[in-house]
């Protein structure tokens, strides 16, 4: 479970995130929706402890991101906006490196890597150097290494960015599977349809602030619009981010 309280962050004069509060419960998918530059990635970066909040805080399974960043890091699996791989290492070696950094090792780690390779359908590329991988293949490796320590909370920054239709479908199936396993899934997207299709809860963010929050049905009711698309436009005030 991720509880966000009054989180704020500025870069110089730019107020990237202001007073953001929400809760992402276990066994649910929470979508952080907003146009580009709305503050989604900055919020996520604070949650995965890379940036320090200026004000407010957040707790992951009860551990404060400011006071116990290492405990938080052990409990989260992150697909960051930056998802570079080590090109001179194989898929398996890339995943193994992260597993070891989490303190795993030996047979248990190898079994976990096998499980992830099966789950993400990567057997064909498991022992290949990751140099020259397609966007979809690179994404799978990045997800596998993020989940190698079997985290209860999964944070995904724009997980379908740059994927083709088939890969996007597979990605959405995978996110649903994480939810079925009882994990807390928090992901960002600027694509309304994607969020609508997957999320139990939607947090709409624009200009660094939350403008609306709730289930898809809540949002329709809140904005007085019949379909979610109109609700989204009403919430952020522009049509930016609609997939056509």
């Amino acid at each position: 479970m991720i509880e966000v309280e009054n989180l704020s962050k500025s870069f110089g004069k730019v107020r990237a995130v202001q007073h953001v509060s929400f809760t992402a419960p276990d066994g649910q998918i929470t979508g952080l929706l907003g146009p580009n530059g709305a503050g989604k990635s900055t919020t996520l970066r604070m949650l995965y402890t890379l940036l320090r909040p200026q004000d407010g805080t957040a707790r992951v399974d009860g551990f404060d991101i400011r006071e116990a960043p290492l405990e938080v890091q052990r409990r989260i699996g992150v697909l960051a906006d930056a998802r570079g791989l080590y090109q001179r290492l194989t898929t398996r070696e890339n995943i193994r490196y992260y597993g070891r950094l989490h303190g795993l090792g030996g047979e248990a780690l190898e079994r976990q890597i096998d499980r992830l390779i099966d789950m993400l359908d990567m057997r064909a590329i498991a022992n290949r150097l990751t140099e020259g991988f397609s966007t979809g293949e690179r994404l799978k490796v990045a997800i596998a290494r993020a989940l190698v320590h079997d985290p209860r909370n999964v944070l995904l920054d724009e997980p379908t960015n740059g994927l083709d239709v088939m890969s996007t479908r597979a990605m959405r199936q995978f996110i649903l599977r994480l939810k079925d396993e009882g994990r807390c899934v928090l992901f960002t997207s600027h694509i309304m349809q994607e969020v609508a299709a997957l999320c139990d809860q939607i947090v709409i963010i624009a200009g660094g602030q939350i403008t609306a929050i709730g289930t898809p049905a809540d949002l329709r009711r809140l904005t007085g619009k019949d379909n979610l698309e109109d609700a989204f436009v009403a919430a952020i005030g522009t049509e930016e981010g609609l997939e056509r």
């Binding site: 890379l50 906006d81 930056a82 570079g84 080590y86 090109q87 070696e93």
Partner: protein, 391 residues
């Protein structure tokens, strides 16, 4: 601790597979020995020619001064006819020095007046300096000899015009000339250490940022400073290999080349000397890895890092070049400057001079202290969020 090792292991494997970059690093380890070997061969041959060969002197108007010519030939000078235009020949570099005897020479000589001779040469040409000096000295010797004879004929002792006599006491041995070369050795050694570590460090710091793998890496549950330390330590074996290779290279040069025959001195890099130099250089290995890790961490791309780091390696090596020309005593203050102290110590080892153990310890401790300080700065930088935002 185990996870620190994980970082070192991964960076080593990753960089070993990038054979192009470590081969480039290794190139600098063999560059020094090869360059030094080439210089020894080149200079050795020139010296040997000088010592063994006689000087050929083109003379214009030899017929006006037969006695002078006989004198010169007795002094192992090979006299040959001068080119038509002596000045043009010297300017063109065909000959080093030309003696011109004017037609009026015999007349002045017989009249007991100073007879003029002309030496045509280019004083800026280093390779001609020896020939010029030898010829000039011989001519002055002849002048003195004839003058002394004339005085004796007039019943005056030649000693009367000898007010002072200069005795040369030159402490330079043939060895000191060769030792100028040896003074370049520390420079090459330090340069090899820095360049061995550089490719690994660039890839592990700037490269990590460039390929967008730094951010996910730092989310792993380790104190961030460990990543800085791990990346730094991963470069240590590469720097050590470069140090060993370059030392082996120098040892091979002095073993394979007939240095004694070429330079007239014996230079031995015994196993003891090599071991001593290796040990003295160990703190420099840490310093090289630490300082390059810190600087490369600030850069955004490998290209940017690649433009800065060669200068970082050059700075501590600069005193080594100065040492080749300006001898510095192993005073305490020199030991206080990291890398400078070691260069002086290496020189002392090479010359088999007595070495103060305190100097060795002081230079090692200060270099290690500086390394720790720089590592600490790198850790602080990794803990700062500027490493993510890049601002």
């Amino acid at each position: 601790m185990k996870r620190l090792w994980t970082i070192i292991e991964k960076e080593s494997l990753d960089n070993l597979r990038d054979y192009r970059s470590w081969v480039t690093g290794l190139f600098w380890a063999v560059f020094g020995p090869i360059l030094l070997g080439g210089l020894i061969l080149l200079l050795g041959n020139t010296i040997r020619d000088r010592v063994n060969g006689s000087i050929t002197l083109p003379v214009q108007g030899a017929e006006y001064a037969p006695n002078l010519i006989t004198f010169l030939e007795q002094q192992r000078i090979v006299v040959e006819p001068a080119p038509l235009d002596p000045q043009a020949a010297v300017i063109a570099g065909d000959v080093n020095v030309v003696l011109v005897i004017p037609p009026g020479y015999g007349e002045s000589f017989s009249a007991g007046k100073p007879a003029t001779l002309q030496l045509v040469f280019d004083s800026t040409r280093q390779s001609a300096v020896v020939d010029i000096t030898v010829v000039r000295n011989l001519l002055e010797g002849y002048s003195e000899y004839i003058g002394a004879l004339r005085l004796t004929v007039r019943g005056v002792s030649p000693e009367v015009i000898r007010v002072i006599r200069i005795e040369d006491v030159d402490t330079a041995t043939p060895q000191s000339q060769a030792l100028v070369f040896l003074s370049m050795l520390p420079y090459f050694i330090i340069f090899a250490i820095f360049n061995g570590a550089a490719p690994v460090i660039i890839d592990a710091t700037a490269g990590e940022r460039e390929r967008a793998s730094l951010e996910p890496l730092l989310i792993n549950p380790l104190p961030r400073g460990w990543f800085a330390v791990g990346k730094m330590l991963a470069a240590v074996p590469f720097a050590l290999v470069n140090l060993l290779v370059t030392l082996a290279g120098f040892a091979a040069i002095f073993q394979l080349l007939p240095v004694e025959e070429l330079l007239g001195v014996q230079i031995r890099l015994s196993l003891d000397t090599l071991t001593a130099i290796f040990l003295v250089c160990l703190p420099i290995v840490l310093l090289a890895c630490a300082i390059q890790t810190l600087i490369a961490s600030f850069t955004r791309t490998t290209k940017e890092a690649g433009t800065y780091l060669p200068f970082v390696g050059l700075v501590p090596a600069l005193p080594g070049i100065a040492l080749a020309f300006l001898p510095v005593k192993p005073d305490l203050w020199t030991m206080l400057i990291p890398t400078f102290g070691q260069q002086i110590l290496i020189n002392q080892f090479l010359r088999s001079e007595p070495i103060l153990l305190s100097n060795v310890i002081i230079s090692a401790v200060l270099t290690l202290l500086l390394s720790v300080l720089i590592t600490w700065a790198a850790i602080k930088f990794y803990e700062n969020e500027r490493i993510i935002t890049g601002k």
